[in-house]
């Protein structure tokens, strides 16, 4: 098995961390090979045959090698979960002062309604030596309080889901730019990883979410398509078209592929087109993927203890909790960027049952993932992020004092947490005003977050550009952004 576990048992943790990248070539899972990569193709719109990332990278010694992004789609409420504002109870039912609102735009769902303050629907506790404030709906998070860094002063400038999520993940609100994971995959590649560099895992939900998860959230934009995230489905075809038709046994498929290879080789000898050689390699890779992907996604070789740690939901393939287990397996195998999506955090009504349901889906497994990585010595080199595209407003949507009350979208502050990969553990960074409305201390714009993530990966966001339509694009765009050094160890 070409993963770091083996390296570690053989050589000890430190060596495994430093050298795993160079050590796993030619081994089994592996064979999936250099990711789902196309090689150079015709003259049109393609870059040079990069399989190992950009030669000018890293710009500096990386702190993180991999990223797990636990994307909570819909906008979790910072007010109930992390951003404790005990003073709010005094304001219950009163109108939000204009001095706080400062002309903040509202969605048309609440624009015509009075902005009456709804205090948090939860009790808070202080946890760990760091004394982090965590709401009661996330009991397992209390256990990782000293492992993570909470950023309470996140800011975005989009107020609707799709534009905000697009901004959150691609740096721009209009679809078409590469996603963070695609940038990472393009920049750093995977020297010898045996899986795609960038994998995407979506929670399987029964309830229909109002916010579809568009594939441009993990798209490669104008970067070559090999860098786009590959979605692992929870259906019986984890990757589209992976399974052969019923009635076609493996030995016949092998025969077909041999035939394809031989005739393609003859064609290559006649035409001299090197693209044919690439095609031969890609067909062989497809063959190997057909066995290694199912092997990867089959959790039956995990010990019982794993499922106890990640919670009962992790026994259910496709659940967020099972995807957390899968994320750890992918990191063990050296995948650069793993992104989970859990939908349905858009709690405009009945916060106290609806939001709890999503907390229960994610709480235990998110915390278990951090602890598990730590126990396995992988957390130092893996950056784990948790967060959604925006936060929620302090005013109640619907009646503020009814159990039916919820909260509308809010871009001016929200909370994210990050762990491992060079982040300072047990820290809370930034602060909001007493209404959890404005980030008043150390605001962190989404593009600052991007700059910081790239920095941890050894990339200077200002120098990391891609030429498209005559312009040098970068993830952080044209406006100023800064690496938040205060939260880095």
């Amino acid at each position: 098995m070409s993963n770091r576990l083996d390296d570690r048992t053989a050589d000890g943790t430190a060596i495994a961390r430093r050298h795993f990248l160079r050590r796993c070539s030619g081994l089994s899972l592996g064979t999936i090979a250099l990711g789902l990569l196309e090689d150079r193709t015709s003259a049109v719109g393609v870059d040079s045959p990069v399989a190992i990332g950009r030669p000018d990278l890293p710009h500096h010694e990386p702190r993180a090698k991999n990223v797990i992004f636990l994307t909570q789609s819909g906008g979790p409420s910072q007010i109930e979960l992390f951003d404790h504002k005990p003073g709010l109870s005094k304001w219950a039912g009163q109108e939000l002062p204009a001095s706080v609102r400062q002309g903040q735009r509202l969605t048309t769902m609440t624009a015509s309604q009075k902005q009456l303050i709804m205090p948090a629907r939860t009790q808070f506790g202080r946890y760990g030596e760091s004394g982090a404030t965590i709401g009661e709906w996330l009991p397992y998070h209390a256990r990782i309080a000293d492992d993570v860094c909470f950023v309470k002063s996140m800011v975005t400038d989009q107020i609707n889901h799709a534009p905000a999520m697009t901004k959150f993940l691609t740096g721009h609100q209009i679809p078409g730019r590469p996603s963070l994971g695609a940038w990472a995959s393009y920049g750093l590649g995977s020297e010898n990883s045996n899986l795609p560099d960038y994998l995407v895992l979506l929670s399987k939900m029964k309830r229909s979410s109002d916010q579809p998860l568009y594939d441009h959230y993990w798209g490669s934009g104008f970067l070559p398509s090999r860098y786009q995230g590959v979605k692992l489905r929870s259906a019986h075809d984890p990757v589209l078209y992976l399974r052969d038709p019923r009635g076609l046994p493996r030995n016949l498929r092998r025969g077909m592929l041999d035939g394809i290879r031989e005739i393609n080789q003859m064609r290559f000898e006649q035409t001299g087109d090197p693209e044919i050689q690439t095609r031969i390699r890609q067909y062989e890779m497809a063959w190997r993927m057909q066995s290694s992907i199912p092997e990867l996604t089959d959790l039956s070789d995990e010990p019982e203890a794993t499922f106890e740690q990640y919670g009962p939901d992790s026994r259910r393939p496709g659940s967020y909790a099972a995807n957390c287990v899968l994320a750890r397996r992918l990191i063990e195998r050296g995948v650069r960027f793993v992104q989970l999506f859990h939908p349905d955090w858009d709690h405009h009504s009945r916060l106290s049952s609806w939001c709890v349901a999503r907390c229960r889906d994610t709480d235990q497994a998110s915390a278990a993932l951090v602890q598990d990585l730590k126990q396995r010595g992988l957390l130092d080199e893996t950056l784990v992020l948790w967060g959604g595209e925006f936060g929620r407003g302090v005013a109640g949507q619907g009646k503020w004092d009814s159990p039916d009350g919820g909260r509308d979208h809010h871009p001016r502050c929200f909370t994210m947490w990050m762990a491992g990969g060079g982040m300072r553990p047990g820290m809370t960074y930034g602060a909001t005003d007493p209404f959890s409305y404005n980030a008043v201390e150390d605001p962190v714009h989404v593009r600052d977050l991007h700059a910081t993530i790239l920095h941890l990966l050894g990339i200077d966001h200002r120098r990391f550009t891609y030429r498209f339509q005559g312009l040098d694009f970068r993830l952080t765009g044209v406006e100023e952004s800064r690496v938040i050094r205060e939260i880095i160890r």
């Binding site: 003259a43 049109v44 992976l242 009635g247 077909m256 499922f307 026994r315 009945r350 349901a357 040098d472």
Partner: protein
């Protein structure tokens, strides 16, 4: 860098991917050699954008660059040492050097410095960027030759290279057929051309293909990508639109060879033409093909601004080859387009009578009746008519089997029948601490703590081998509040969700079992998302669920849940049934209940009525003849619901019927999104930083002066804008269009950045040829077929695409066109090609969209079931990909490297990944084509080897070589051996796709040839433009 000895001091350098020659004695070209360097390294701070400008210096203007600045100037013609530009770019001092080390701009290379040096030595002659100068036509380098070849050969000979020999005839007919119709030639077409030695053969072939009804379709695919055409809105709602009549308008326009200037004018302003016909209004849908966002809470005005911006940017890319979008937030950093000019263009599209809404509210609409629907309806009726007899026959067979079954069950239930089997729990668990105890009759009682919310989980072997449904009974009890149903304050319960899972002994993972319906004897009558209906327990949403509050709380109640499909349960398997009480207020956990399962199918688990077998048992009959008619009917229903063949035939008939219903909707006038002006024009402002509600100065309609100046009164309407675009004086449009046509045939343009003819784009590989063709297009009244004919009749086009290692090294990207173009076909063409080769292709033109095969669940996963993909049935399945339904947020899965249709795209993607290989290996369309072709060749030829030759020729338009044939023989024998031993596998392999195609004689032979055909469809040659 390459060095050629022929020129003592010449350099052939690769700069930004372009090959430019620099000769010591030759003049440096400002626009080709100098401007790209200045643009890339200097203009960011010393260019058109005033907000970024440093030191008040502009290097894009001669006056500023040569102006005296305290005794010095950036550029002093013919004086290198006085030119500060040279001093600064060469400086070793990081404080002086340009571009500054911290500017993220690369330092100039020695070659680039040499270019600037020579340019200044030559007097620093200024000029404009090449593409802003009107194209002029000089006579081609060689008279009497085909003009394209004259230019291409001249360029090649400067490199000491020659044009390649012509391609083999079978290759040529295939290439041309793909290029002009998007389809491979038939066997007869190949034969006819290959055997015709007359000089007229090729021109005649060109004429025939240009006249083919598939020509318009092929061209339309180019245009639909550029037009970001889609059948849905995109974004959150992604509602379906009915703009497809516009797609047919495009096909017809190309088919009729509508001149490109007219094509432009009608799409921009068909509605403004005098006596506009409805087809002319239909044309304006071009500018409504953008995405529309109907997300809840979004300000429609913000969306409307997005649409207007999209139109400006699309115009920029498709007609002007300019990245106008850059000027949305600030002056263009490289091209001479100001932000104000951007919003002048914006003003043309700002007064459409629209309000930013999406879905069904995206006015203005045109009611348009499509002439292409009758055929589609007829086809759909044909499928229904074809399937009905099959369904009827299957039913008759099933009814006959029913009689036998009935006899059996009459005997079997005489001694009694137990409909429900109570689950005896092995494990009873709760999450929050409620104590559950089970009694002998299966009843479970809650006691001890009564938390606000709790989940109950019951694990049990079902006691039956098959489970089709569950029953949940809820009982009152004296230990409950007032003897009601629960222990909470109200005595009522709220069950928010139930889940069923299957556990296998020794495995740590569970399998989710889908429940498809729920019924209850009593529900609180509520509307919307609330607590009442039992159906609410199936959706994992704690905001709804089942309660019987408002009914008698001292009565027991019952709910029945049906499994989506019958579940086989083995001895080592258990059911896990979970009841969630997660309501908003809580305090409503069920107090006493019992869970039972049944193995009875169909209606038995979809209602609360007594099951048919229960009734039968109660009726005490001794033979089937005594069963009452009503009961007999119910028994038959149940029997049929469990009868696989009957169910399948019904499903297939139902699909055909659904398709017919759907197609019939297209008969009525369709609402097509079009342009029309509102009564009063909207005022247009510069939007500061591009922010939708951040108004700057007001502007009026106008066009960018750097492209082609026009007084404001001459460009007052959308039609004026369109006429400006296709004015013979416009330097860009004809070049941009010619370049896109060239790209279509040659795989890459003469300008390799088709979307950017601006300063940051690439310089043309053959500037004189590009201009010659652009002028030709305009002088020939924008006749596209004329241009295409000109291109494909050149020797340049007809060259062999083989390449030697030497040539590959010298010109890896074929920028000199010293060989034919070899590139992978677009994925839509690969599918169409398989349909044509196999004979499955349905060549019908136009009509409502169709749904080619794609894997199950792709839409449903994304939209959690809100949209479901239903593959087209019968002949509709085999329409060309052009007609495939395009859902913006989930583009057809069988297409790869295709335009995304979110914003306009004019550059093809060419990548090569294992995912593409998997798609072509396992896509049903290719497999079905393989099956059809296998069956055809088996029907045509008895000799085994001839069959393989036919297969090969059908897919590759040529005969196999001996060594190729050997591989085919080997693989077909391998497959035949396997299927001869495992006929079941061969049968299984046939079980996919359209039922009409499934039935097969000679199943072993067909399966073996299917395998080989599928292999051939995956060959590099099969999917490549050679």
């Amino acid at each position: 860098m390459f060095r050629y000895s022929r020129w003592s001091l010449s350099l052939l350098l690769s700069y930004g991917g372009l090959i430019a020659e620099i000769r010591a004695d030759a003049p440096v070209s400002f626009s080709r050699d100098v401007l790209p360097i200045l643009s890339d390294r200097c203009f960011k701070c010393h260019g058109p954008d005033a907000t970024q400008r440093q030191a008040e210096l502009r290097l894009d203007l001669r006056e500023s660059a040569t102006a005296d600045r305290d005794g010095r100037a950036a550029i002093v013609p013919r004086d290198l040492t006085a030119s500060q530009l040279m001093v600064r770019i060469r400086s070793a001092d990081p404080d002086l050097r340009m571009p500054p080390p911290d500017s993220q701009r690369k330092r100039l290379s020695p070659v680039e410095m040499a270019i600037l040096q020579r340019w200044i030595e030559q007097g620093a002659p200024w000029g404009r960027h090449w593409s802003f100068e009107r194209p002029t036509r000089r006579s081609p380098p060689v008279a009497n030759a085909h003009p394209i070849d004259a230019y291409v050969r001249a360029r090649l000979s400067r490199e000491g290279l020659r044009i390649a020999a012509g391609a083999a005839k079978h290759t040529l007919v295939r290439r041309l057929s793909f290029d002009l119709t998007g389809l491979p030639p038939t066997r007869d077409e190949v034969e006819a051309f290959v055997t015709d030695d007359s000089p007229r053969a090729y021109p005649a072939l060109v004429d025939r293909l240009l006249a083919s009804p598939h020509y318009g379709e092929r061209m339309a695919m180019w245009w639909l990508d550029a037009a970001r055409y889609s059948d849905t809105d995109g974004y959150q709602g992604d509602g379906t639109r009915s703009n497809w009549p516009w797609r047919d308008w495009v096909v017809q326009a190309f088919q009729g060879n509508m001149p490109f200037d007219q094509f432009t004018i009608e799409q921009f302003a068909g509605d403004l033409l005098p006596d506009a016909t409805s087809d002319q209004i239909l044309a304006t849908c071009f500018h409504r093909n953008h995405m529309t966002n109907g997300e809840g809470g979004r300000d429609p005005e913000e969306s409307r601004i997005d649409y207007v911006i999209d139109r400006v940017n699309t115009t920029g890319t498709v007609w002007l080859g300019l990245t106008l979008g850059c000027a949305q937030c600030h002056a263009h950093k490289f091209d001479p387009i100001s932000q104000r000019e951007y919003y002048r263009l914006f003003a043309f599209f700002n007064s459409i009578d629209e309000d930013g809404k999406a879905g069904g509210g995206a006015k203005p609409y045109l009611a348009y009746r499509s002439p292409f629907v009758a055929r589609a309806v007829e086809e759909a009726q044909g499928v229904v008519a074809g399937r009905r007899p099959l369904a009827d026959a299957t039913r008759l067979r099933a009814e006959a089997e029913f009689e036998v079954w009935l006899e059996e069950v009459v005997a079997a239930v005489r001694g009694g029948f137990q409909p429900w089997h109570a689950l005896q729990a092995r494990l009873l668990e709760t999450v929050e601490g409620t104590a559950l105890t089970q009694q002998a009759d299966g009843t479970v009682q809650a006691s001890g703590p009564d938390p606000r919310q709790d989940d109950y989980r019951l694990t049990a072997a079902p006691g039956v081998r098959r489970v089709t449904g569950l029953r949940l009974e809820v009982f009152p009890h004296k230990s409950h509040t007032d003897g009601k149903l629960a222990r909470g304050a109200s005595g009522e319960f709220i069950l928010t969700d139930v889940k069923l899972q299957l556990r296998t002994k020794g495995r740590s993972q569970l399998r989710d079992i889908e429940l498809s319906s729920a019924v209850a004897d009593a529900e609180k009558d509520v509307g919307g998302r609330n607590y009442g209906k039992v159906q609410g327990t199936l959706d994992d949403d704690p905001r709804n669920g089942w309660t019987t509050a408002s009914h008698d709380p001292r009565q027991s109640h019952v709910a029945v849940f049906a499994l989506d499909a019958p579940l086989q349960v083995d001895d080592d398997q258990e059911l896990v049934f979970t009841m969630l009480h997660r309501s908003t207020v809580g305090d409503a956990n069920v107090g006493r209940f019992r869970v039972s399962v049944t193995d009875q199918a169909g209606p038995a688990v979809r209602s609360l009525a007594a099951m048919p077998l229960e009734e039968l048992s109660g009726a005490k009959v001794t033979d089937a003849g005594q069963v009452s008619t009503g009961l007999r009917g119910r028994l038959l229903d149940q029997f049929l619901s469990d009868h696989a063949a009957h169910q399948q035939a019904q499903r297939e008939l139902a699909r055909a019927q659904r398709q017919l219903t759907e197609v019939k909707r297209a008969v009525a006038a369709q609402r097509v999104m079009v342009l029309s002006e509102r009564g009063t024009a909207r005022r247009t402002f510069v939007l500061q930083r591009g922010v939708w509600n951040s108004h700057g100065v007001e502007v009026r309609r106008g066009v960018p002066a750097a492209i082609l100046r026009r007084p404001a009164e001459a460009v007052a309407s959308r039609s004026d804008l369109a006429r400006w675009l296709v004015s013979p004086e416009n330097p860009l449009t004809a070049r941009v269009v010619v370049n896109q046509l060239w790209q279509m045939l040659f795989g890459a343009g003469l300008v390799r950045t088709p979307e950017d003819f601006g300063l940051q784009g690439e310089f043309p590989t053959h500037p004189d040829l590009l201009d010659w063709l652009a002028v030709e297009l305009m002088e020939q009244d924008w006749n596209l077929k004329h241009l295409l004919r000109l291109m494909v009749t050149s020797r340049t086009y007809r060259q062999d695409s083989r390449v030697t290692p030497g040539l590959l090294e010298r010109d890896p990207e074929n920028r000199l066109w010293g060989r034919g173009a070899r590139f992978r076909l677009p994925s839509w063409m690969i599918r169409d090609s398989a349909l044509r080769s196999s004979g499955l292709l349905n060549p019908a033109v136009g009509g409502p969209p169709v749904m080619p095969y794609q894997p199950n669940g792709v839409w449903a996963e994304m939209f959690m079931g809100r949209f479901r993909y239903q593959p087209s049935q019968g002949a509709a399945q085999y329409r060309r990909t052009l007609y495939a339904f395009w859902r913006r947020s989930a583009a057809p899965t069988f297409l790869f490297d295709s335009a995304q249709r979110r914003v306009c795209e004019v550059r093809p993607r060419q990548t090569n990944t294992p995912l593409h290989a998997l798609t072509l290996l396992n896509d049903l369309s290719i497999l079905e084509a393989s099956r059809a072709l296998a069956r055809t060749v088996i029907g045509q030829r008895p000799e085994p080897e001839q069959r393989l030759r036919l297969l090969f020729h059908a897919i590759l338009s040529r005969s196999p070589s001996d060594s190729e044939l050997k591989v085919l023989v080997r693989e077909v024998s391998r497959a035949r051996r396997y299927y001869a031993q495992s006929v079941d596998s061969a049968q299984q392999l046939m079980e996919f796709g359209q039922p009409e195609q499934r039935h097969s004689e000679q199943v072993i032979e067909v399966a073996a040839h299917l395998v080989v055909a599928s292999m051939l469809f995956n060959l590099d040659e099969a999917i490549t433009h050679e």
